[in-house]
Symmetry: none
Subunit: 208 residues, 4 copies
Amino acid sequence: MSTPQAARTAKAAPTKTPDASRRSQRSRQAILDASMELVGEVGYNRLTIEAIASRAGVGKQTIYRWWSSKAAVLLDAFLSVVHDNGYDNGIPDTGDLEADLKAVLRATADEFTDAGFEAPYRALAVAGAADAELAQEFVERLQEPGLEVYIRRLRLAQEAGQIAEDLDLHLAVELLLSPFQQRWLTRSGPLTYEFTDRLVEMALRAFR
Amino acid sequence: MSTPQAARTAKAAPTKTPDASRRSQRSRQAILDASMELVGEVGYNRLTIEAIASRAGVGKQTIYRWWSSKAAVLLDAFLSVVHDNGYDNGIPDTGDLEADLKAVLRATADEFTDAGFEAPYRALAVAGAADAELAQEFVERLQEPGLEVYIRRLRLAQEAGQIAEDLDLHLAVELLLSPFQQRWLTRSGPLTYEFTDRLVEMALRAFR
Amino acid sequence: MSTPQAARTAKAAPTKTPDASRRSQRSRQAILDASMELVGEVGYNRLTIEAIASRAGVGKQTIYRWWSSKAAVLLDAFLSVVHDNGYDNGIPDTGDLEADLKAVLRATADEFTDAGFEAPYRALAVAGAADAELAQEFVERLQEPGLEVYIRRLRLAQEAGQIAEDLDLHLAVELLLSPFQQRWLTRSGPLTYEFTDRLVEMALRAFR
Amino acid sequence: MSTPQAARTAKAAPTKTPDASRRSQRSRQAILDASMELVGEVGYNRLTIEAIASRAGVGKQTIYRWWSSKAAVLLDAFLSVVHDNGYDNGIPDTGDLEADLKAVLRATADEFTDAGFEAPYRALAVAGAADAELAQEFVERLQEPGLEVYIRRLRLAQEAGQIAEDLDLHLAVELLLSPFQQRWLTRSGPLTYEFTDRLVEMALRAFR
DNA sequence: CAGTAAACGAGACGGTACGTCTAGTCTTCGG
DNA sequence: CCGAAGACTAGACGTACCGTCTCGTTTACTG
């Protein structure tokens, strides 16, 4: 931002874009932390910008300056936690695809049952479903990376000849994960191991 | 509702339960119509009870008297439209399961692309995802009946020996429909015929 | 308000004018009371609509519904106090004009030195000086009635031949009271009895 | 402000007093100019420090460093203009006191009707009425010097035996000017020549 | 067929949160 | 190392709706 070009660009675009290089990292982190805390305490609908600002010890304008909506704040907050926790170790490859997938889905079921994870994630899913603009960010930054680790595991299986070589891997992962996500989102049924195991078995039959 | 029992019940419960037999059908319908119109015009988040009341030419209290939330209003409004349109005649049975399913999913894709249908349905899905209480109603009154027609068709195929006889039909329908619903809800991809056809093919492999 | 005309008028004027007949007198009085209290405590510049609403136990909208600015609230509040206190007993007529005016001005000086009176009155004078629209109301409803009682006393003196018969009484009262008001408003000097007595004497010389 | 004394004072008070000797005269003048422009454009209430800083091409801190309030800025700005314009050459002395005063008051009425003069002067009067601290500066630096020129003229008349020799000249000037200022400040009547002439005549009767 | 009780249209009410604005302070960086 | 630039905390602004609570006014059953 201190390069000549940047300076010129800043002058050429006199829009009210704030100068990111001067952003207070202290405030940013306090806002993200407060958001995660509050969404866990009161849920998304009762989460307010005012409460976030107050809890973070920050002026409201500082939130409005850097984010366009409370959902955008929450998305950053969630991603920040996810990345801090290491996130993407990928799916283990023991050679036994079915066992690997069952293990991962069981773990995912546990995760989605944990209140600390569920509240913000559901909030984001809801906000994304309601708002097309946010949906794109939600899908790109959170959902697609999640699918990608499955695709990589399936590709290994494909190379090992365990599943059909002409299989559309992206669609395959949708077939595997969507029933899980749909059940969770609409609460149309419990996320038991029984469910996840049967789901893996049935999906795998489609992959061969 | 004008039976002696109903009258007695009303007296036995001097809580503010309104007398349904005196309900104005004129107002009820005006509210449902206004809701459907407005959700199409401004979306769910900007849909307000005040606007519905104003558009319907009705006092706010008349809405609060009979419904617990704007989502509840919308659910009734949507079901009223669905029922008026004859709703679900079931899935045709030409003997060719794959062709039948492809045809129905293509039709469903068209339906979900229609703005008049999408706006209220998405609103309900969002409200259901956010609110557990409403979710149950949403699933029971709208989603499960939708699955049921698929289950019936699969049962016929099962009896005809076209799919595995020990197949869990409910789970099977989830496998078939969830990827579709998930794509639509999160807008993670387009609902093309290409997509629905491949989906049917892949799911059917899992059913045999 | 239940006459046919009134009903028709109401329909003919769909402006957002609130229905004064349904106004809560309880809230009105609470707002006026709170305004007078607060202006005495924190002064006009730090007087906020939010604080008035909070102190009065009233929603902000109830203030905005009935008044156009905090100065308008305060004007009503001040007039309400003034009217409750009897206000206009007129100026005594002992036959001795000089003595009567000196007595009244001494009393007025005392009044303008009382903090409970000064704070809101100064606030109104300031607001009126700054805002032309409010100024008119301030002058008409508060200042002119104040002058009027002096004019009446001078007219009696005029009829008794104590002052010039062609005297412009309005201008005469301005000559008498403006130095007092100006001193008070700009704090350019103290409002002592010495000052008010000399002022009356000098003004009276101009009246003969 | 750049005299040795001033510098010493600054050092003697190691509080955050800025070093006046390093003050940018360029910024100072730009701030004063911007203040006068803006107060004429938007009035006092909508005059903001931010707007002044922006118009003057100056950081906000540069204003806060040297002035305690926007009224203080404006007072300096106004005095700077007044002094540049030569200010007060005193009241002419043709020997005819009534004619001289009438001429000056007519000229003053014209001045107070001029928008370029009125806006900042009214702003200062309002600020002074609201804020006791500023009021003192306002009176001392702007109002008293104004009265002084009248006092000097009256003293000449007194020495010439045209008015009473025991007349309190300060009070006399208040009697003459306050009705004028009061009318202007509260807009309780028009500043016509008719008004100023009658005012002079009436006041002069009190002076003899 | 009058009397009456509940639902109704209307909208004022006490509140909460919104997104914007300005005040006055604090931080960064270029000249 | 001063000053412009502007991000920061703080909090009031005026608006929009919330859900509750009267107001009269229909409306439809009951005595």
